[in-house]
């Protein structure tokens, strides 16, 4: 007799495992299938985010940042350390331990929430049955009333510089290096490229980042991108814009990267080359041809705004569908899908999804950039406040950056908040809440912010929009 569940989720990344837990909270019987296998050969829930993305990268960013500060900042505080040394093996052990705790945590959540977590491959067949190939054992057919596809994404492999797992590597490999490469090349100055470049630069690599676009951080507000550009340059990140990579060739002594920029064709030699030019939806062997699932021209599973596929009762969420490839976007879609399956009303506000880069300074924003507002034709006003004038930032010795707010001139609604500076990724939550509730600039102005705190910069930026900043001269 085959097993049957109310809901079968394929993929236990941040979209899938959240969908599974939420569905179980609704009293539905749920199974969640995942085939992720770590480098140690063990299966783990959590997908890219927990195993090879968000979490391990933050662990390394923290370690490398502390190392960097110990070398360059402790003296200012009067802390005498002598020579500071970095034990890469210990750093990686800590990273692996954090990942293990969190992925184990999902298994615990499944157990507590009565979700049946299954390791193996899941494939959607016609008629809402799922073919489950366990890690060991025989293929099973699982009956499902509803299916949620949450198969995630994988790094794009460039034909001109294919991954070899040793010298030309993807973002996962780049998190698990056991030595600091002397010369590190990064293709792509996006979120992943900049974060990984930052990690290894702080640990001592000479990092060169090649970005094909002419604009730095094209998706960010220009003022924020400008500040970030200056700060990265100060840190010694060598970012080349408009640099189109022609070929990456692995040799005995490293990688030769040929590229062309405004100065013509050139090449550099690096010991390791990280290719981080983006990710593509991962749908390999996810569904049978007759299952009724459609892919768009970029390989994303076609869904409507509530994540329903063309097949009734089958949803798809997270990186395998349209929209930004962000864990928090996938999780929210997972919640929405589970709620809809349970017969509740659910929707998702795609206009207010925060973006964060965990570089130093951190970069975060929500809502529209000034350029987007300008293009929309809406009359607007802006205000900004530099962390240079923040007492808390001064005390933290992290004064670079600023908060910028863009609001409607007509009705004062906040349209976008952009932060570059310390803890921007934390500060952005206030912006998200404000945007989610259609707050006006005045609402932020009239909200009390604790002193001294970094969040005061958000308050002052809101005041600056109406030229009422109190701790900085209004322009």
């Amino acid at each position: 007799m085959s097993k049957s569940f109310d809901v079968v989720v394929i993929g236990a990344g941040p979209a899938g495992y959240i969908a599974a837990i939420r569905a179980a909270q609704h009293g539905l019987t749920v199974a969640c299938i995942d085939e992720w296998k770590n480098r140690d050969g063990k299966n783990a829930f959590g997908g890219t985010c927990l195993n090879a993305g968000c979490i391990p990268s933050k662990a390394l960013l923290e370690s490398s940042e502390l190392y960097h500060r110990a070398q360059h900042e402790f003296q200012k505080h009067g802390i005498q350390t002598g020579d500071v040394a970095m034990d890469i093996a210990a750093m990686q052990k800590r990273r692996a331990s954090i990942v293990r705790q969190l992925t184990g945590g999902i298994a615990g959540l499944f157990k507590a929430g009565k979700v049946e977590g299954l390791f193996g491959h899941g494939k959607l067949l016609a008629g809402k049955t799922v073919e489950f190939t366990p890690v060991s054992g025989d293929v099973e057919i699982i009956e499902a009333k509803h299916v949620v596809l949450a198969s995630g994404s994988s790094p794009i492999n460039l034909g001109i510089a294919p991954f070899d797992g040793d010298t030309i590597i993807d973002s996962w490999d780049a998190l698990e290096l056991d030595a600091v490469p002397e010369r590190l090349g990064v293709v792509g100055a996006g979120v992943i490229g900049l974060e990984l470049g930052s990690v290894w630069a702080r640990l001592g690599s000479k990092v060169t980042v090649l970005e094909a676009m002419d604009d730095f951080l094209f998706m960010a507000d220009r003022d924020v991108a400008k500040v970030a550009w200056q700060e990265f340059a100060k840190q010694g990140l060598d970012i080349r814009l408009g640099a189109k990579v022609a070929k990456g060739t692995a040799g005995a002594k490293g990688v030769t990267v040929e590229f062309a920029d405004k100065d013509g064709a050139q090449s550099i030699e690096v010991d390791k080359l990280i290719v981080a030019v983006g990710r593509r939806p991962h749908t390999d062997n996810l569904f049978a041809d007759d299952a009724g699932i459609q892919l768009d021209e970029h390989g994303f599973i076609v869904v409507d705004e509530t994540c329903r596929t063309r097949v009734k009762g089958v949803y798809a969420v997270g990186d395998c569908v349209r929209g930004p490839m962000l864990a928090h976007k996938g999780s929210e879609e997972g919640v929405m899908a589970a709620d809809l399956i349970a017969g509740e009303i659910a929707e998702m506000n795609y206009d207010v999804i925060p973006s964060v880069l965990y570089t130093n300074p951190e970069i975060a924003w929500a809502g529209k950039t000034e350029a987007e507002v300008k293009d929309s034709g809406r009359a607007y006003k802006t205000g900004s406040f530099p962390f240079m004038a923040s007492g808390r930032a001064k005390a933290m010795e992290q004064t670079s950056g600023m908060v910028k707010i863009i609001s409607s001139k007509e009705d004062d609604e906040i349209l976008g908040i952009h932060i570059v500076g310390p803890m921007a990724g934390e500060l952005i939550s206030e912006a998200v809440l404000a945007l989610e509730f259609s707050a006006s600039t005045e609402d932020l102005q009239r909200t009390i912010h604790a002193h001294p705190s970094l969040a005061e910069a958000v308050h002052e930026a809101a005041l600056a929009v109406d030229k009422k900043a109190l701790n900085f001269p209004n322009k």
């Binding site: 009705d411 004062d412 609604e413 509730f437 259609s438 006006s440 005045e442 009239r446």
Partner: protein, 405 residues
Amino acid sequence: MTIEIKVPALPESVTDATLVGWHKKTGEPVTRDENLVDLETDKVVLEVPAPASGTIVRIVAEDGATVEAGDLLAILEEGEAAVAVAAAPEKEKEPPVEPVAVQNKGPIKTSPAVRRLLDEHDLDATMVTGTGKDGRLTKADVMAFLKADDSSNVTPGDPAPVVVDDSAVQGLARNEQRVAMTRLRARIAQRLVEAQQTAAMLTTFNEVDLTEVMALRSRYRDEFEKKHGVRLGFMSFFTMAAVEALKRFPVVNASVEGTDIVYHNYYDIGIAVSSDRGLMVPVIRDVDQMSFADFEAALNALAKKAQDGTISMEDLTGGTFTITNGGIFGSMMSTPILNQPQSAILGMHTIQQRPMVVDGEIMPRPMMYLALTYDHRIIDGKEAVQFLVAIKDQLEDPSRLLLQV
């Protein structure tokens, strides 16, 4: 002199109220009629105005306290209010308004900018449609509302003038004045629209020959007044006739609650009276147990209170049926609007000598048109018509009032 500030009379069926918040602190000067504190019941939010100017010397009941009618709230030392109050750039506060039509389930929570705008324009959150998350009000919503409602180009942060006189600039004769609704007016407007939108309102008419009532009234007028100390008016005849008709057609005395019909085995009659501050409907309770004299006395007392502005919330709450008399202003015929949750209202009109055919002859008779607006959701046309006929029959032959036939 010290004055005790107490919880005012609470509406029927309300035993206690929650003290939502003090607007004043101990030692703070207050001016007469300034709102001191908000009390919230499950039906209304009550304001407690300062009975005199002076200084709050002691606050007895703190925020969040549960209080009952008559409980001591604070002690006021009467005397000159400090000048600082007058200097505040705030707009002059409206006199506290009896929440005649307030039916809120507590105040709507709004964001700080929205609160500021609503306060500044003396608006109520319920008057504006929210477009924010889950229908919440945004500042943009209130600004759009004001813009649609007001030509005085409001920009954020600018207190809008209440009166805008464009002609002063133009120097032309075409003059127009824009005045924000008082809170009472806004409430009335809101309630009337609510009635229009929720009930299936229909009006039926009849006419009544008042020859007999007038004769009876002129015959006993002096004697009645001498004995009872009140004038014998028409109102008592109509009310008594209406109560008798209500007894025969209980559904007219009923109200709708969701999908239930609630029949009331008591006869609390609201009499619409106009006052300087707008329409008010004081309620006279248990009219079925009253004599004509009792009723006239009660009505006079309430009318006086309405004019003086001393009417209490209890006087204005409840009621199972309403009578409105447009006749005192000369109305020949009108269709009243329900005073929800009641399901019927009787409209009286002006008395006019009109030629009527009586026993085959044309005779001048004092005639009045009667209108009954009713909620067709629960009252059928037959009942409504018969109800009105029952009133007509009793008024045309007042001895029926005595015999209840």
